[in-house]
Amino acid sequence: MDFHFNEEQLMFRDSVRALLERDCTADVLRELWAGESGRSDGLWSGLAELGLTGLLLAEEHGGLGMAEVDLVLALEESGRACLPEPLVETVLAAAPLLETLAAGGGTPASVADKWLPLVAAGEARLAIEHPANPCVADAHVAELLLLLADDGSLHAVARAQVELTRQPCNDAARRLFTVDWKPGDDSLLAKAAGATRLLDAAFDRAAFGCAAQQLGIGQKLIDLAVDYAGQREQFGRAIGSFQAVKHHLATAQVAVEFARPVVYRAACSLATGHTDAGLHVSQAKAMADEAALLAARTSLQVHGGIGYTWEVDLHAWMKRAWALEMTWGGSAWHRGRLADAVLADIDNKPREGQLQLQGVN
């Protein structure tokens, strides 16, 4: 057992952090909100150059052949920076799905051969529809969309062949759409039965991605408040010296800190194909969501009136935390999934040679 990240994983995190601190500042975020697309090709290709967009893809598709444990810290960084790009949708949900399908040859293989190297190179983004989400995120910048037909079959459709309607939402950075399109024989990737399995796996990866981002968002919300509480004075003292404020922040930190190992475990389980990977993801998503929500509320409270303004950046992270909590399965859904499994499994004997956790292992 070793819960450490290795040298390369940490270095990768550092380089992603450095890039985001330089190219994804609060000023950049605000500029992007105001723009129609809300996205930055430069930022996306910068991340691709670091290897982020192809990290999970095989070398034959221009990727690095690495796994979720290698990615999790970078995802955390993307949350910390409030990155508006479709990292979760493209890198975690859609691209690996295409790659899995490609193994069977036929149309999916040619779609994968065409698009995945572009994803790895940062020249294409992907969007994906899923029954858990009422809208399709970032469909407007996705060159290729994976869409579900009424019969449950999965299709790959170029953006030129769809009509998008933007669905305005609370987070100024998010771009959600409903999609009008028609399935054709040449667009078919998988029939309903096969599609469901693929979509379930994509769902778990994406939910894991959101969980990792929530860790970064939660930590950032706490850090912003800690900074502010150290500077802001009332009653002749820094407000951070009041116990009420300290306790609020410490409580939020407890929540983030205890969500962290759960998210890292989910990364390992996805990487190794653990039989309970889905349940591990659910626990990660539920706990990271709760931590981020608590951090949001705490950070606002510690900021007082100034936190309630558009001028101060705080709301960007708050709104992202609220949005992600409901995306790729809300925290309640994930708790419910875990509850069902724990209840069903409670009398089973633990299996040998695995991290033993009550009920689920």
Partner: protein, 388 residues
């Protein structure tokens, strides 16, 4: 103890219900944090006043009906049941109004109350300053006497609805050598006075719900001083009592939210099935709203019997703000992935105004004195714990 309404009270309720039914706009007014919405809400105030419903507990000569606080609570219940618009002049009618009754001279009452009731003067509250939020006694905006005027210099901030309001009630430092609670005075200032500058501030939702107000040699006649010079803290604490303890947030508001929440639960059975705690959270909200109503009737009885609102208003403020937030958080959970969509989104379906309500509820533990400060007050003044 008798918890039934009298015949007169029932008749009063029926009358209020009938008038509201005939007069409440069929369509929701635009947000009062927009210019157009503010104007629409002001018009509504005028209409309320024409019907004699602006502030039923005020004396008739000031535009009220001379009824007591129980009737006021009944009116509020009917008001929320009817889905009537938010009160754009809430700082005036619920905060300054009762303070004027207590501290105003007859002339001041006659001058300000009827116009307030009619929505001719919409009021803002100017207490907070950049460096005096929780620590309100650190106020630095000065008002020095010059003949029969004060000359005001400084800045207020986070003044709700000040962008389009007409007047602002403020606390200024009138004694240059004073410290903390002493030497402060309560004054009434027109926002179009020479030297006043209002800068709108965008809130979380991007709308200009509050503003900074700058004072540059603004001349305020001495007859716009409320209470005594140097006695502003005492006057302000009376206002804060109404703000935290009784009028600003009447129970009907939360009972309406609780009813809406129960309907939302009923309409989203899948969400409730997936998360069995949601039903529990909804009923908790409903129970709290009920408890809050009972507590408010109790407070009203005490005041009618000659009592006053004291430090227990801090408990009240903690209760309503946290109940409101909990109910809105529950609503967001019930809406699930649709919760982040604006009502204008086609995919949003029938999300109503929960998102707006949620974001506003988040401010509850901050405005009217933060809940940390209220807990300090409750612990020190009600429980008698040593001061920190």
């Amino acid at each position: 103890m008798d918890l039934d309404y009298t015949k007169e009270q029932r008749a009063f309720r029926a009358e209020a219900r009938e008038w509201l039914k005939a007069n409440v706009p069929g369509q929701a007014l635009p947000s009062m944090d927009t210019e157009q919405g503010f104007a629409a809400h002001r018009e509504w105030e005028t209409k309320l006043n024409e019907g004699g419903w602006a502030m039923v507990s005020w004396p008739v000569e000031y535009g009220g009906r001379g009824v007591d606080l129980i009737e006021w609570l009944i009116f509020e219940e009917e008001y929320y049941r009817a889905g009537a618009p938010g009160r754009v002049n809430q700082n005036g009618i619920f905060l300054l109004g009762p303070t004027l009754m207590e501290y105003g001279s007859d002339e001041q009452k006659a001058r300000f109350l009827p116009r307030m009731a009619a929505g001719i003067d919409v009021w803002a509250q100017g207490w907070s300053e950049p460096n005096a939020g929780s620590d309100m006694a650190a106020i630095r905006t000065t008002a020095f006497r010059d003949g029969d005027q004060y000359v005001v210099n400084g800045q207020k901030t986070w003044c709700s609805r000040a962008v389009w309001a007409d007047w602002i009630f403020c606390i200024f430092r009138t004694d240059p050598d004073s410290e903390r609670h002493r030497g402060l005075s309560f004054m009434l200032v027109p926002l179009d006075a020479e030297g006043v500058q209002v800068r709108a501030i965008e809130q979380l939702d991007g709308e200009t719900g509050f503003a900074e107000v700058f004072f540059d040699n603004v001349r305020v006649p001495v007859d716009q001083l409320l209470g005594e010079e140097g006695g502003g803290w005492k006057v302000a604490m009376s206002t804060a009592g109404f703000e935290r303890g009784l009028m600003l947030r009447s129970p009907a508001r939360y009972q309406a939210t609780a009813r809406k929440l129960v309907a939302l639960l009923r309409d989203n059975p899948e969400a409730a099935q997936r998360d069995p705690t949601l039903g529990d959270r909804v009923i908790r909200g409903w129970m709290q709203a009920e408890a809050y109503a009972l507590q408010t009737y109790r407070t009203a009885s005490r005041i009618i019997g000659g009592g006053s609102i004291g430090a227990e208003s801090s408990l009240n403020k903690i209760f309503w703000s946290e109940m409101d937030l909990a109910m809105h958080e529950t609503a967001m959970a019930l809406l699930g992935p649709r919760a982040e969509l604006l009502p204008t989104a086609r995919a949003a379906g029938d999300v109503g105004d929960w998102l707006d309500g949620f974001q506003f509820a988040l401010a509850g533990p901050i405005y009217a004195g933060t809940n940390e400060i209220q807990r300090n007050i409750a612990a020190e003044r009600l429980l008698g714990l040593p001061r920190g």
